[in-house]
């Protein structure tokens, strides 16, 4: 069997997830290919002739037994806007699984995942996946306000989850980098981060300063998603690499970030 597929999945659920995202649950008629945390799918956007290319989305949840794939969709542009409004029962055409995901922590590792915005999706998948191997990944999520955060009960039963809000309505006030846990990063030997670029850079800089292994998940603009168009490149120590095939997850030491 090919390692990647173009397939149609049915939208079996489309419901709000927090105040600014939609959770799309997609079901296949057949067994899905294996999908790992940090990998993504490239979705053909339905009902919008203005959208020519597919749109990439990180996988939020994967349920092998029931052939389910879950995505979080935040309305950011014309593609995500149409997708967020897709009706139940509709079939979505997607290419999957794409990209290289996160390196799972080894047994005994202490790991922290720091996210914000739509970056929380792959990190929750990562923590859930790790928990199935009895590995705990602590989570730290930042948002502007309490209502922008993930709904309570999403992940708390599996791991510790801390929050920051810029307006102080939930958890610690300020940005993720202001949270006390970031001041003692040295207790961890792995940090993962996904979210807005400035946040990832700040988190990566703090991890680097403490000598903690850090993986970041990038979301450069892409056309194909499987390594043929060479549009989504990121400068790295090995030259320009495609985020879609060599990433989206990179060890921060591979990147040329001046941090």
């Amino acid at each position: 069997m090919a390692r990647k597929a173009v397939t149609e999945l049915t939208v079996v659920e489309n419901k709000p997830f927090g105040s600014n995202q939609q959770m799309l649950v997609l079901q296949g008629e057949q067994e899905l290919l294996p999908v790992f945390p940090g990998q993504f799918v490239n979705v053909e956007i339905p009902d919008n002739k203005e959208v020519f290319l597919r749109r990439p989305f990180s996988v939020f949840g994967y349920d092998k037994e029931n052939n389910l794939l879950t995505l979080l969709v935040k309305e950011l542009g014309r593609g995500s806007r149409s997708l967020a409004r897709v009706e139940r029962g509709r079939k979505l055409d997607l290419i999957y699984p794409l990209g290289k995901g996160f390196t799972l922590p080894a047994a005994g590792d202490r790991a922290l995942a720091v996210g914000g915005g739509s970056g929380v999706a792959p990190l929750i998948f990562l923590a859930t996946h790790a928990a199935s191997f009895q590995i705990q990944i602590d989570l730290l999520f930042g948002a502007r306000s309490a209502t922008d955060h993930i709904p309570s009960g999403t992940i708390e039963q599996l791991t510790r989850c801390w929050f920051t809000t810029e307006d102080g309505t939930l958890g610690e006030p300020g940005l993720v980098t202001d949270h006390p846990v970031m001041k003692k990063l040295e207790v961890y030997n792995r940090v993962y981060t996904c979210g807005p670029l400035p946040m990832m850079r700040a988190v990566a800089a703090m991890a680097k300063a403490k000598g903690v292994n850090c993986e970041v998940s990038l979301e450069n603009l892409m056309a194909c998603g499987f390594g043929v168009c060479l549009c989504c490149i990121e400068p790295t120590v090995k030259g320009n690499l495609c985020v879609c095939t060599e990433g989206p997850v990179f060890n921060v030491n591979e990147l040329l970030w001046q941090i």
């Binding site: 990647k4 597919r54 892409m222 499987f226 060479l230 400068p235």
Partner: protein, 303 residues
């Protein structure tokens, strides 16, 4: 089943569907999706003499019914290709066509000589139409003397079938086609991308790092089709048509306009399986219209 075999000079193809250069890597990304021996030929990513990192990010902008790209011929150079990539693709059971680039005639010739030595390389496509490099590229494809000179020298450097890929960014594409034909090209492929531009009005910035880039996709199909029609009536060598082909119907339009084969490019970004779907769709069309051979349709436009 109708015959799908076509000939591009000495190059015989089991069917007339090729991938377009720069849209299917070196073939290895497509084998994750389908058996590439089912298509006519794989047009490999553009090669240059030396490693090229290409242009800065952002290199892509979605536009109405298409996209702009400004990749800038990112590749690790022809020597790396020969030592690291060619061994893993030469036995794919699909004719391979190298896309040759240069910033000088000497560079074009040197890359061509190296490719000529590869036994399992079926043909060479001479790219004189890349709009995204500062030197060479399209500069050779927009002037008759330059297009003629580079074709003449590359022709001398290889005995493999030579396809010259033409730029649409010219006043008269037929004139360029006739020049490269007279200098020994076995075929012409057209069109490469149209030079275009996109702006973010809110931020008041260009969407591409290079400001301008190459437009592809269905937006350019009617112009590409017109050029294929004009060129196929101007030269005797086969014409390979490309530009916005998204499905088998689009492909049939290019055959009717005079193309002997077609290339699928941007459509692969949307659906990596599209080359094989188009092969199947061509068969269905021929059967539906009671043709026994694709060659009966080529240039068969009723007027």
């Amino acid at each position: 089943m109708a015959n799908l075999k076509v000939s591009i000079g000495k190059l015989e193809l089991k069917n007339p569907v090729m991938t377009a250069s720069g849209c299917s890597g070196f073939g290895l990304e497509l084998i994750d999706f389908f058996d590439v021996s089912r298509i006519g030929a794989l047009l490999l990513k553009g090669l240059t003499l030396k490693n090229r990192e290409g242009n800065h990010y952002p290199r892509m902008a979605e536009t109405a019914s298409g996209m702009l790209n400004a990749v800038g011929l990112q590749n690790k150079g022809v020597d790396y290709f020969i030592s690291h990539i060619y061994p893993s693709i030469k036995d794919l059971n699909c004719p391979l066509v190298a896309n040759v680039n240069g910033s000088t005639i000497e560079e074009y010739v040197e890359v061509t000589r190296k490719i000529d030595e590869l036994e399992d390389m079926a043909a060479i496509e001479l790219n004189i139409s890349c709009p995204n490099v500062k030197e060479g590229g399209m500069a050779f494809g927009v002037s008759c003397p330059h297009a003629g000179a580079v074709t003449r020298e590359v022709r001398k450097a290889s005995s493999k079938p030579l396809i010259v890929k033409l730029s649409p960014n010219v006043t008269d594409i037929c004139e360029i086609a006739r020049v490269v034909e007279s200098e020994g090209a076995d075929a012409v492929s057209l069109v490469n991308t149209f030079l275009g531009m996109a702006i973010d009005a809110e931020k008041r910035t260009p969407l591409l790092s290079t400001i301008t880039g190459g437009l592809s996709g269905p937006a350019i199909k009617p112009i590409a089709l017109r050029m294929v029609w004009q060129v196929s009536r101007s030269v005797k060598i086969p014409v390979i048509g490309l530009g916005g082909i998204m499905n088998a119907t689009d492909a049939m339009e290019f055959f009717l306009a005079g193309a002997t084969a077609i290339q699928v490019g941007t459509a692969i970004f949307k659906d990596p399986l599209i080359p094989v779907k188009i092969v199947e769709g061509i068969s269905d069309y021929l059967e539906r219209h009671h043709f026994t051979d694709i060659n009966q349709v080529i240039g068969g436009l009723h007027m």
